[in-house]
Symmetry: D2
Subunit: 394 residues, 4 copies
């Protein structure tokens, strides 16, 4: 896409946010998501009408045909609202599932699972993390998928299956080859429709004060001898980790750009409030040097984050996610740290208002605390990066 | 109290926490407080039965007769549970109100308001902060109390009137002398029973995802020409700020010791979880140097905090809160910072579990974020301390 | 320059550093600079022979004709040695003086002062900061230049006139129009040959343990009624601040890229030492998670710095230094902070060795501490950035 | 000592610093120590005359008979000048050697080595760290002491033998029992007069720009088959580590209190300079909120440090250094971190002046960077503390 077209597209997204999303977002995110589904559906149709739906898909699939680095710019804009990605059908975990099925799904899997997702007719989820094992070391899994004739029978316990409530299917990571010597060859990914007998949504986990519902929820689920056709295996047996890596690479770009969008909105809120709120008549908070320091430090780290994520997106475009592994690890911990610091400063600037649910800050402060934990805690990514660097000096 | 008696008392509190409080706290704090009132009442009776009720009161008022530095030790223990202070009747804001009325209340005010509080029959609240003015500069108030014969008529808008829901009365800060030259002589404190016509509890403010109820809530309230007898004025007209300072000095000791209790419990949780959770079979998180660094840094800052707060309590005992003003400012920002850092590290150690409401960490992470804001944001206390120090070199 | 030519050039600089500079740098920087001048001269000739001299100059002036963003890449490489820029004739403050004279010098000024500098025959210095005034607010100056017929008579006291020892001339900032209403129109810049009667080099200021000499020194100087021809005025009277801004914009790119080079070398040293040093036989420091965290955090911040500085260089190329003012302020405080943190971690990794003068780290730790102070302390740049951002929301 | 006597003593030390030490310290520390020895000797005599010599010794040895926690208060005062401890004969490493010989020396060792030290007639040093081994894991040593009839023959290579230049003897840590199963039983401590044949002072190591001389130096030394009488063994063979622990426990109190003194002086300098230096006429630096934040944060951390170190000193008095091991580790990393942060802020406040050798700040910034490294780097002490805490939850 040429630069001026991209610029026009970004403007269209900004206008959509201002006109359609911002006026509704507070009541929806602090309300009951499920009850707002009809309104949300109308907003999604509006996004489609404006040509903003599916920015992440190729034109052949009804998308905008953006490169990863272009989509990243869109994603930073959409991140400014907690509803942004959802309204344009490019929300996690669906976007990751679409990418995975696009690359590795069979024709019948695409027909049955991918295309309805792309059309925005259904939602999906992804079942990887298990409460009994540290998510930071994914080779340890207990969920099993045992081949039994033309089926797999799946038994296991997962949590943080985001958005399972109301979803149509999940992709589950399960051991198919537990005896394989290489621990990275023991697991596979399988598609499981959520109406499969034996699938149980145990609960939406209360997270930082919110149980949530529908898309805004994180489920604990169980698979009780859940039987799916063998044709629901994605790729081949033992490819689970390879697929997870493929899925997570661009996924981290998505997360990071969304975080940048959040941080930019928080910085805007901080600036506006600092200008408005007075310590004494005629003396707004914005004149306080501490506030100025926070604004400057957040602005600097946001800019650094944006340049690094865009550069990483370009590396992925050029040489693939595997070759960009260290760059991806770098942005994972750098940007999540920037995000939490920015939110913290924005809250401090807002004073008592900052801890109420009268602004978006409370929502993000609570729900983005996970950013430093999911997809690998920061500490794991630091080790990955350091060990790679050290190797080059050995 | 001699040291070994104090030690025995502290042990009794610990046993109370282990036996009575810890088993119930999660279901209560993540449930609906109001629905748990009968159970809470039984727990309060148990505290009374064990001689642990009213640790803050003189023996003549049915309390334990502790000095501030002794009560501080008790307070750090009670802080280990979000219910601790409430169950022993020494919870904010009631404890501050009791101190205030004890020192400055008239005999009839004591009889009508203080003694029922001390007996644990009623609760109270405190209305100071206004949404239209920065709490960090309390000279700016809009709430007015106009003398009208034998009454005051109060009109104004307040928020963060903690625990108004279910309370019997509030103490309100209002301008009685708005034209006084000295801005610190413009306001007064008045007692207002909450069933006074014109008092409106607008809403329990949703704070970090919790609207709460009863004692666990923070209200927005309005006074619509609310008429109270002139005898409900505490002290004299124009003494509002002086009274607020008196109330806040020991109040900050209470907060700081409670924060230390929270941090100690979070550190315990961090240690236990790090020992239990394995990255690989036989390799617990506790062996990770990052985790060890966090444990050590939190332990060091908790110990520093405890020594500083106890030292400050002794300064207040010896020379009064006014003379200890800088020491009080110091602990306000040092301890709140330590608290939030410790909670953050505890959450990161717990990984995904840390952001769920399956542990206390989520509750504290959300509800103690205000610690760096209320009773004067950290930045104000740093300026107070710095200006005092600078003055000594002038 | 096309990318592959630039790559080849960068390789040539790397080889020059490895072959010519690294073997000599420790003995020179910890020795007496002046005594090493003959050897340094030979090394400069070698740089010239390899076509690496004057990377910053246009081809018409005997340079390599690089754009700012290309020179920035060269500069990061040269920064890896404290001698790098000097050996290639692009060292501060000469590079800034060359830029200034190139843009604003008269023909005769160029002939007399610029061309010998470009040929590497002489050195120069820059006299702005005064001991009596805070450098962070440059409108306050006491040095006067009074027009007297065809001359200016200059009187004043300056310090941190870097590299005055052995220099041929200085550019001095002095008040020519002290009564001008606009404080930014009061000062001018004048050329002063150092053999002018009345010029006094009071001392080389001992900085962090080093008095230094020749190029490696920072002088305190006095102008005692120093008379120079009126033709030595650069530009016009009152343009001093405008010229200073022009000089400082690209100057900050130079500094920042040099700092990045230093940080990259320090990170290399940290990695190599961590791999070599053993805590126990077979257990190198590199396995310690704390060390890995430091390596990862430094690597991330170096990468962020590099992307931001290159982006800022491109902004300056496209729209000039004035329009890029906020980007320049951002890199000033972000990169200097990154540098000092990286050096600190490198020293801690090296243990006792890190504080000796047996490595470069001690030199940089001491001599780059000024990075957060000169050209405007970080705090000033944060305010500049914050105020600009705030303005956009007014 | 009763509190008012202690107070009077502290006042006497303050007066000594103001009258005798401060006027001379800058010229001595930035000069050549050895050349100032006559003047230093006169200053030491003045300390003796005022009854301030040997505050650390029992009265029976000509000292002031202070308890550790009382001496700690004295030490914080003396730390305000780099010369303080030296002038009162309680400087490291002599103070540690005196303690060691007092507790474990034979009568003849005391007569020959301890008493002249106590009388201030000679100086000593301590040879433990070896360049070939990480100091953070002291079980790894190469220096050997082989019993040969009535002698030991010592061969090895040490560095950071502080103050060897001009010292009379050293205490060396050497392997006597390299085959012992317990690695902590392999080493012993031996006294070695520096005029013993085979002892070589290789060089005073240049540290952060200073080679230093005499007491202000850190030597690299070699023992070439150095023969000393068997009676110079301190304690018994294999007791080296036990003795080192005994020596280091109170030694860390000394260091920490000295660091507190430094930090207090730096804070004083910061306050005074901030009041004096103007950004604009009538607008001193002290009005900048950033500066106020630094002052407040440093003041808070200094106060926390002081309370923790005094509390640790009392723990050592009551139950011995071994039982106070975690408290000692805690202050080691907490106080050294506070010190470096305070010095950094003081330098930033002083701007360009802060990096010159015109104030004490440059000296401390350079020479105290080792505080986070020697006697065990911070990271080791954090692990010690964390592992002990974790053990209590196992």
């Amino acid at each position: 896409m040429n630069p001026s077209n991209l610029q026009a597209l970004l403007t269209a997204y900004s206008v959509f946010l201002e006109e359609v999303v911002y006026p509704e977002e507070l009541s929806i995110i602090y309300g009951h998501f499920k009850e707002h589904l009809p309104k949300l559906q109308r907003m999604r149709e509006e996004a489609r009408r404006r040509g903003l739906f599916n920015p992440h898909l190729p034109e052949s699939s009804g998308g905008l045909g953006l490169r990863l680095s272009e989509f990243a710019e869109v994603s930073a804009l959409l991140g400014k609202s907690p509803l942004g990605h959802y309204l344009c059908n490019c929300q996690a975990p669906d976007i990751g599932n679409m990418e995975l099925l696009h690359l590795f799904g069979s024709e019948s899997q695409k027909r049955q699972f991918l295309h309805p997702l792309e059309r925005g007719e259904i939602r999906s989820c992804f079942s990887m993390t298990e409460p009994e094992h540290a998510g930071s070391n994914p080779v340890h899994l207990s969920t099993r998928a045992v081949r039994d004739g033309d089926s797999y029978r799946i038994t296991g316990h997962k949590w943080f299956t985001t958005a399972a409530d109301g979803a149509h299917f999940t992709i589950v990571m399960a051991l198919t080859n537990p005896e394989a010597e290489n621990p990275y060859s023991r697991a596979s990914m399988l598609l499981v429709p959520l109406d499969t007998p034996g699938f149980e949504l145990v609960r939406n986990i209360p997270i930082m004060g919110d149980t949530g519902s529908d898309y805004f929820s994180h489920a604990e689920v169980r698979f009780h001898d859940c039987r799916v056709p063998a044709a629901y295996l994605i790729g081949e047996e033992g490819q689970g980790f390879m697929l997870a890596q493929e899925r997570l690479g661009p996924g981290r770009i998505h997360h990071c750009m969304r975080w940048i969008g959040i941080a930019e909105r928080a910085l805007e809120m901080m600036c506006r409030y600092a200008l408005k709120r007075e310590l004494n008549p005629g003396q707004p908070l914005a004149q306080q040097q501490s506030i100025q320091n926070w604004i400057a430090e957040s602005a600097a780290h946001i800019r650094a984050s944006r340049l690094m994520v865009l550069d990483t997106a370009r590396q992925i475009e050029e040489k693939g996610a595997k070759e960009a592994k260290e760059a991806i690890s770098t942005i994972k911990f750098f940007v999540s740290d920037m995000l939490m610091n920015t939110l913290d400063r924005a809250i401090q600037t807002h004073g008592a208002l900052g801890i109420t649910d009268d602004t978006l800050l409370s929502f993000w402060y609570r729900h983005e605390r996970g950013a430093r934990i999911y997809d690998g805690p920061d500490e794991v990514h630091k080790s990955v990066l350091a060990r790679k660097l050290l190797k080059s000096y050995r």
